[in-house]
Amino acid sequence: AQSVTQLDSQVPVFEEAPVELRCNYSSSVSVYLFWYVQYPNQGLQLLLKYLSGSTLVKGINGFEAEFNKSQTSFHLRKPSVHISDTAEYFCAVSSSYKLIFGSGTRLLVRP
């Protein structure tokens, strides 16, 4: 069965600093990978997705992620964060009819 591990439950960072949120998944023949963001008191919205092709995927709000098959990782990065990026971020892998979600990483951006 597929699984997703987000190693960091919370990542504090100062405004304008770079950030990386880590995600590892269990291997499979082919994977479709996603990052979702949840702002306070809202639902989840898609940041970016990897289906095939280039391993570097660009998403909304300046985020990008790199698919690394050998490391079974799909880490999320942003070169310079804003206060408004404070949110919870979920990594997910597609498995048959479902998405398997990680436990989430809370990004806390401080001024």
Partner: protein
């Protein structure tokens, strides 16, 4: 195009009461899902449906029932609410024929408190 909508947004129940949460989507998606979100536990799948008239159990189905009588609607029922069902409930939908991934679109959530 409203996407995925959920009714109600908030609800407070007493132990033993029943209620139904309604999810509606206008994207002609085949698949629909109900999740619950609790602090530190991420999203857990309660039930899902791969088409009108079908339902299946997810990770945490006990205490809940669902129905998908129409393609655009997915109902989540609590027959006898318990304090352990205090949570935020999210509905999601996905998949149009020919799509290769399973990108899910989420509703805004229902915050349920059981006293």
């Amino acid at each position: 195009n409203a996407g995925v909508t959920q009714t109600p947004k908030f609800r407070v129940l007493k132990t033993g009461q029943s209620m139904t949460l309604l999810c509606a989507q206008d994207m002609n998606h085949e698949y629909m899902y109900w999740y619950r979100q609790d602090p530190g536990m991420g999203l857990r799948l309660i039930h899902y449906s791969v088409g009108e008239g079908t339902t299946a159990k997810g990770e945490v189905p006990d205490g809940y029932n669902v129905s998908r009588l129409k393609k655009q609607n997915f109902l989540l029922g609590l027959e006898s609410a318990a304090p352990s069902q205090t949570s935020v409930y999210f509905c999601a939908s996905s998949y149009i024929a020919g799509e290769i991934s399973n990108e899910q679109f989420f509703g805004p959530g229902t915050r349920l408190t059981v006293l």
